[in-house]
C-alpha cells in the first residue's frame, strides 16, 4: 500500500509517508475533537490504503496543501475586496491551515503542525491591530475580509486547524492564540456584532458555527452556549426573538428541508450547519443534533440534492451562479457527514462517486469504505414538491420529472415565498430541463463571483435592474411592471400557494398547480404545469403550461419564455428589426431587452421551434385575437457588457381583465452530428385550444398530427381527490374524479 500511495503522491511527498509509521503520539486522547476526532484518527490510520476514494482524496489534500505551503507564510494586512489578493490570500490561508492540520494528525509530520502554529501566531500578532476592513461595502464589515461572512468562515476552519495542532503547542503560544485571535475574533463576531450574530439568516448561521467551533476548540463552553442560543442583548421584546443555532435549525428550513433562499444558497448555508452539527455530535451527543426537528439536517441535504439536475448542476432560480454543482466542497462535506449518521441512505454514495472526493475524516472514510464494498446505489431524482416556510405553509417549489435518467425532462415551478434578500420577483415562474440541457431557463444572478474586474466580484447593478425583475423570468408580467412593484418588503410578507401536486411513476401525467394572489395587486393568478411522459404519441415528453390570471380592471399581460438553443422556425407573421434595434421598454427590466422582432398569429395556433444539442423543441400556443409576440434578446442598457445575451419570446395580451395563456412545449426529434441525419424535426403537437375556462374549470385540448388528441381537465376551486366533476364542451360531456384528469381520444 505504501508503494501505491507513493505512486499517487509522487516522490516529493515521500517524506510524509516515511514518517507516517514512526509518528510520535503527541495528542491526548480527547484531541482533536471537532470535525475529526481522536478515535477517527485511529480508525483512519488503521484503514489507510484500503479504500481507493479515501486514498485519492487524501493524496489530493496533501498535494493541494503542499502546493500552497510552498509559498510560505503570508498574512497580509487586509486591503482588497472579493477577488483581490489579500481576500484570496486569507481565504487560502484557512483552507491550507485546515488541510495541514489534518495531514499532521494523520502523518505526525512536524512541518504541518509548525506551519499552522506559525500562521496562527502571525494572525495573533496582526489581529489586535486591525479595525474594520477598509472596503466599506457591506452592512457587516469584517476585519480580515470586506464582509463579516467571510470572517466567520475563516473562524470555522481556523478553529478546526487550531484543534488539530493544539496538542503540541506550548502553553504560552496557546494562550496568545486563544486570547489575541480566536476568542477576540469570536467576540467580534458575536458580542460586537449582534446585528449579524442573532440573525435568522445564513450569515447568522456562519457566525454561530464559527463561535461554537471556536468554543469547542478552546474548551470554552460559554462560547458554545452563545452559539447555540444567541447573544442576549437586553430585555426588549425584540431580544426575546429566537436566535442562535437551535433557532436557526427551527426557522431557516421548511419541514421538507427547503431553504428559502434557493438551491445556490442552500448549498452554501449547509456547510456551517453540517460542520457545527458534527462538532456538537462529537462533543455533546446528548443533544442528538442530527435527530433534531425530525432529522431536519438530513432532509436539508437530500432536498439540496433533489434540487440538482442530472448533470449535477443546482437548479438556478433566485440569486444563483449557474455552474454550481453538487461537486461543491460544501456538498461533499454534507453528503459524507449525513451518510455517516444515516448509512441506510445508499443513494448518497452514488452522489459521492460523482463527487469523486470525500472529506478526510471518519465520515469520508465511512463513505469510501461503503463505496469500495459495493454498497453504492445511484442517487434517484424524483418528482417532488418541497414546501417553503417554517410550517410548510408558504407555498413550494415543485419539480416534475419524466424519469430518473440523464436525459429526463424536468419541469420546475416556483410557487413559494420571496426567498429573502437573494429572492427574485418570480412567482409562478417555470424552468424546463431536458436531455441534459436547460431548455427554458432562469437567468440566475448577474454576478461574476470573485472576478475582480467585475465590480470586485460582488453582485452587479444588473442583478437588481434585470435579474431580480419579473420580466427576467418565465412568468407573467402585468402592465410591464414587476410583481409587488419590486417592493421586497411587501413581497417578503406573503407567499404563493400550493394548489395541487401529483406525480406517480405509474401515471403518464405528472402535474402541479400553484396560485398567487398578492404579487399582481388585486389580481388572482394560477399556473398549472403538466408533464406527459411515456405516451407513445410523442418521441419524448410534452409539457402543458396553463397560466390563468384575472383582475377586475383591464391590464396588459406579458408572458416571456427564455429558451436555450437556436431558433429554427416560427409560423407567426413577424417583422424583424434587421437594421435597427430598440429596447422593449424603460424600466422593470424591460430596458435590458432588445426587441428583435414583433409578430402576430397567422392562425389559431402559434408554433415556434428551436434546437438544442441535437433535439428539437416546439412551443405551441393558443392564439387569441390581437395577440402580439415579441422576439427578444437580453443585453440592452448593459454598458459594461455584463449580461449574457440570451434569447426569448414574449406573448402579450392587452386591454383585458382576465386571460389564460395556454402553451404546450414538446421535445422531439434528433439530429445526429456524426451522420448529419435528422429525424422528426416536425413535432407531433399540431394545435392547442381552450374548451372551457371559467372560475370552476379549465379544459385544454391538445391536437396532434395523428388525429389523436389529449384533453387536460383542471378543477380550479374544488381540490378534492374524491370529488366528481362533469362539464360539457362542444356537445361532449367530460366526467372525472379528482382535481385534474387527462382524457385521451
Amino acid at each position: 500500500m505504501q508503494k501505491k500511495i507513493i505512486q499517487i503522491l509522487g516522490l516529493a511527498t515521500l517524506g510524509v509517508l516515511l514518517t507516517f509509521c514512526s509518528q510520535k503520539e503527541k495528542s491526548d486522547k480527547n484531541q482533536p475533537k471537532l470535525s475529526l476526532t481522536a478515535q477517527g484518527v485511529e480508525q483512519i490510520k488503521k484503514d489507510m490504503g484500503k479504500y481507493p476514494l479515501f486514498e485519492k482524496s487524501f493524496a489530493t489534500l496533501v498535494k493541494e496543501t503542499n502546493l500552497d505551503m510552498n509559498l510560505g507564510i503570508n498574512v497580509p494586512i487586509p486591503k482588497d475586496p472579493a477577488g483581490g489578493y489579500t481576500h484570496n490570500r486569507h481565504k487560502q490561508n484557512y483552507i491550507t491551515m485546515y488541510g495541514a492540520g489534518i495531514i499532521y494528525q494523520l502523518t505526525g509530520e512536524q512541518k504541518y503542525a509548525d506551519y499552522v502554529t506559525q500562521m496562527l501566531l502571525e494572525y495573533a500578532k496582526m489581529y489586535p491591530t486591525l479595525g474594520y476592513h477598509p472596503v466599506d461595502k457591506s452592512y457587516a464589515r469584517g476585519r480580515l475580509f470586506w464582509q463579516q461572512l467571510n470572517d466567520a468562515v475563516w473562524l470555522v476552519y481556523t478553529s478546526q486547524a487550531y484543534d488539530f495542532i493544539k496538542g503540541q503547542l506550548s502553553e504560552e503560544d496557546k494562550k496568545i492564540i486563544e486570547k489575541d485571535l480566536l476568542l477576540a475574533h469570536a467576540n467580534f463576531l458575536s458580542i460586537e456584532s449582534t446585528h449579524v450574530f442573532n440573525l435568522i439568516h445564513n450569515h447568522g448561521v456562519w457566525a454561530a458555527s464559527a463561535v461554537g467551533m471556536a468554543g469547542y476548540a478552546m474548551n470554552n463552553d460559554e462560547l458554545v452556549q452563545r452559539a447555540l442560543y444567541g447573544v442576549k442583548v437586553d430585555d426588549s421584546v425584540e431580544d426575546k426573538n429566537p436566535k442562535g443555532f437551535f433557532a436557526q435549525l427551527d426557522l431557516l428550513f421548511s419541514p421538507d428541508g427547503y431553504y428559502t433562499e434557493g438551491p445556490y444558497y442552500q448549498r452554501y448555508a449547509l456547510l456551517p450547519y453540517i460542520m457545527f452539527a458534527q462538532a456538537i455530535d462529537n462533543n455533546n451527543p446528548e443533544y442528538e443534533i442530527f435527530e433534531y426537528r425530525d432529522q431536519i439536517l438530513r432532509k436539508a441535504v437530500e432536498a439540496t440534492l433533489q434540487l440538482t439536475h442530472s448533470d449535477g448542476k443546482l437548479i438556478p432560480f433566485n440569486d444563483a451562479l449557474k455552474n454550481m454543482t453538487y461537486k461543491a466542497p460544501e456538498l461533499i462535506n454534507a453528503v459524507d457527514i449525513i451518510y455517516n449518521k444515516f448509512p441506510e441512505e445508499k443513494g448518497l454514495l452514488g452522489v459521492a462517486i460523482e463527487q469523486d472526493r470525500v472529506i478526510v475524516n471518519q465520515a469520508g472514510l465511512k463513505v469510501a469504505k461503503a463505496i469500495a464494498e459495493g454498497e453504492a446505489q445511484p442517487f434517484k431524482r424524483i418528482s417532488i414538491e418541497l414546501r417553503d416556510g417554517v410550517e410548510g405553509n408558504n407555498g413550494a417549489v415543485g419539480i416534475l420529472r419524466s424519469d430518473d435518467s440523464k436525459e429526463a425532462t424536468s419541469a420546475i415551478m416556483k410557487y413559494a415565498s420571496q426567498g429573502m434578500g437573494h429572492g427574485h420577483f418570480d412567482r409562478l415562474a417555470i424552468m424546463l430541463h431536458d436531455n441534459g440541457n436547460e431548455i427554458l431557463s432562469d437567468y440566475g444572478a448577474a454576478r461574476y463571483v470573485n472576478v475582480e474586474y467585475k465590480h470586485g466580484g460582488r453582485y452587479l447593478p444588473e442583478n437588481k435592474t434585470w435579474a431580480k425583475q419579473t420580466v427576467a423570468h418565465n412568468t407573467v408580467v402585468m402592465d410591464e411592471t414587476t410583481q409587488f412593484e419590486a417592493n421586497v418588503k411587501a413581497a417578503d410578507l406573503v407567499s404563493a400557494e400550493r394548489w395541487f401536486f401529483s406525480a406517480n411513476d405509474d401515471d403518464q401525467i405528472s402535474i402541479m398547480s400553484g396560485k398567487e394572489n398578492n404579487a399582481y395587486g388585486t389580481a388572482n393568478a394560477q399556473r398549472t404545469v403538466a408533464l406527459i411522459h411515456g405516451n407513445e404519441l410523442f418521441d419524448h415528453s410534452i409539457v402543458i403550461d396553463v397560466f390563468k390570471i384575472k383582475d377586475d380592471k383591464k391590464h396588459t399581460y406579458d408572458l416571456p419564455y427564455y429558451y436555450k438553443g437556436q431558433l429554427i422556425h416560427t409560423n407567426v407573421d413577424y417583422v424583424n428589426y434587421t437594421t435597427q434595434r430598440e429596447t422593449m421598454g424603460d424600466s422593470y427590466g424591460y430596458q435590458h431587452l432588445w426587441k428583435e422582432a414583433k409578430g402576430e398569429p397567422s392562425g389559431e395556433t402559434m408554433q415556434t421551434v428551436w434546437k438544442n444539442d441535437g433535439r428539437f423543441y416546439t412551443i405551441t400556443t393558443e392564439a387569441k385575437p390581437n395577440d402580439e409576440i415579441f422576439f427578444t434578446s437580453i443585453g440592452a442598457n448593459d454598458p459594461e457588457f455584463s449580461l449574457r445575451n440570451e434569447k426569448g419570446f414574449m406573448f402579450r395580451r392587452t386591454n383585458t381583465a382576465e386571460t389564460t395563456f395556454v402553451n404546450v412545449i414538446e421535445a422531439h426529434g434528433n439530429k445526429n452530428f456524426d451522420t448529419e441525419l435528422v429525424e422528426n424535426q416536425v413535432g407531433m403537437v399540431s394545435g392547442v385550444k381552450t374548451l372551457i375556462d371559467n372560475d370552476n374549470y379549465t379544459l385544454i385540448q391538445i391536437d396532434t398530427r395523428k388525429d389523436k388528441s389529449l384533453t387536460l381537465a383542471i378543477a380550479n376551486i374544488i381540490n378534492d381527490k374524491s370529488a366528481n366533476h362533469t362539464v360539457t364542451a362542444n356537445n361532449k360531456e367530460y366526467s372525472w374524479q379528482g382535481t385534474y384528469f387527462l382524457f385521451e381520444d
Copy 2:
C-alpha cells in the same frame, strides 16, 4: 461467446445467432468482393466474439438495421429536398440495405438477403419510370435525390448491398436488377452526366466510385475502366483534360494529402476514395492503389486527422458544419481501411478507440483485434504545415500546437488557395483553440444541414452574404470590401504563399508566416503568428500575431477577431450603444454585424479580457493614433434568425497606405466552478510595441508585469536559416541567425 453476444443484442436478435452456426453456404468463393471479401467473411466468422470493439460494432449494426427493417420496404417516388421524407427514406434505404447485406454474409440469415432483394426489385421497378428529381435547385439534378451527389452515394452503397446478396438471386432477378437499376443508374451518372462525372471535384469522385463499384459488383469491366479513366466525350482539347479516379487521385490532394475544400469536405470526399480504393485493391491488386502517388490516400487520412482538435472536431474553416468530428462514419471507414493497409500506424488505433466503432469487414476486424491485443497508441496531434495545390505550391494551412494534450493551445492560419466552391474569402485568417475550446473562432458555414425548416437543409442565403465574406473571418479587410471583391473566379486563380513555418518540440517558440499579394488589389500582406509555450513567465501559452499590409494608396484597414466566451474587461475608452443599435455597414458582410460599441485607445496599449470555461484570455494590442475599436455581434439583417449571434471586436485604422497590426493573445488563470476560487485573472502581458517595422525587418517587444520582456524578430525578405541579421532599435543591437528569433530580456 454466444451468451455474451446475446446479452448485447438482447433476446430479439437471438434468431440471428441461432442460425449463425447452422448457416447455409450459398455464396461462391469470389463473392462478395467489394468492401467485404469472401476471405474476409471466413476470417470474421472464425474470430467472431474475440474482439470486443468488433463484437459491439456488429451488435450495433444489427440493432440499427433491424430497427429500420421493422418499418418494412418503402421505396417512395422521389419528391422532397434534403431533410424531407423521401430524401431521408432513400438515404436510409441504402444504409439499411448495406447493413442487411453484411449481416446476411456473416450470419446467413435469409431474411436479411430477402430484404435487400425485395428492396432492389422495388427500386428496379420504379427506376425506369423516373425522370429528373422534381426539386430543381442543383446544377446536377439526380433521379432519386435533388442532387446527383446523393444519387452517387446511393449507388456506392447499393452496389455493395447487391454484391452481398447476389449469390442467392435467381438469374432473372439478377438480370432485372442489373439492367433496370444498377447499370441504368451507372450510365445516368456517367454517360448521361459527363459534366459531373468528368469533374475533378468531390462530386466527380463520388460518381466515379459509384460507377466503379457497380462495375465490380456486376463484373462489368467497362464500368470499372470508365470509373478509373473517365468518359471520353469527343476529341476536343477539353476532353483531353485528365478525368476519372486516377486523375482525381492526382489532382484533388496536395502532396501532403490536403484537400483544398477544407477539413469538412475532406472528411466527406474521403469516403468514395477509400471505399472504391478498397474494392480496387480487392479486385485489381496489381494497381497497388494504396501505394499510388506516394501513398496519397494514407496521407489524406492522416492530414484529416491532424485537422481535428483534441475533442475530435474538425477545424471549421471554409464551408463547414461546426459539430462534425472524427466519429463521422466516413472517418471510421477511412481509419479502419488505412490501418488495414498500414498496420504500422498505431496512432490510428487511438482514433478508433475514440470512434468507439469499427466497420464490419476485414479492416474493422483487424483494428479491433489490434486494440484488443493492446497495440493502440494515442493519436499524436503535431504542429504541421499542410501544403495546398497539386504540386504543393498553392500556399498551406499551418497549425501550431503547444503540445499534444487535450488542453493544448493551437493556432491555425489559412494561407492557402480559395478552396473551390466551398472556399471562403479568408486569406491569412487565423483561429485559436485552447483548453478544449474555440477561443478565436471561424464562423464556418451558414447552413442547417438536413433541417428542412431551414431552406430545405441547403446552404442559406447568409452563407454567401455573411459566412464567405472576409469580414466574417479573423483577417484584415481593406476598405470594408471582401478580398478579390468577392469574385470567386479571380480568387480561384491565385493562392496565398508560404513564407516560413518552424515548429520543434524543443523550442519554446513555434512560428508560421504567410504572404498574400493578390487578395487586396495591389497591396501586399504578410501575417506571422508565433506560439510561445512552456515559458515559465506565463500560465499557459501566448500567441503573437503580426499582420503587416502595405499598398501605395491610402486605405481603411479593419482587423476583426471573433471570440468565444464572455467579455470581462476592456481598457479602451468606449461608447456603448445601449438603447439603440445599428449595423456596421451595408455590404460585404458588414450588414450582418451589429455595432455594439465604439472605442478608442486610452493609452499606448489596448487590453481586452474575456473568459471561456474557467480560463481567461487577454488580447493586448499596440495602439496607434486615431485607432478605432468596435465591439460587434453577428445577427443584423438576418430576417429568419438563422445566424448565431457571436461576438467580436474589430480594430480599424483609416487613411493609411501601410500598417502593421500587432496583437498578443494570452491564455491565463483559472476559475474553479466548484470552489468559485479565481486565480490569475490579470494576465502577465502588460504591453506590446513595435521596435522596428520596415520592408526588411519587424521587431516586436512584449512587456510583462514581471519586468521581463520578449522580443520577436522577423526577417521579411530574406528567408534563409543561415543568414545573419543585425539591427539597432532604441540604441540596442539585435543580432540573430535565420528568418526569426525570440530574444528574452
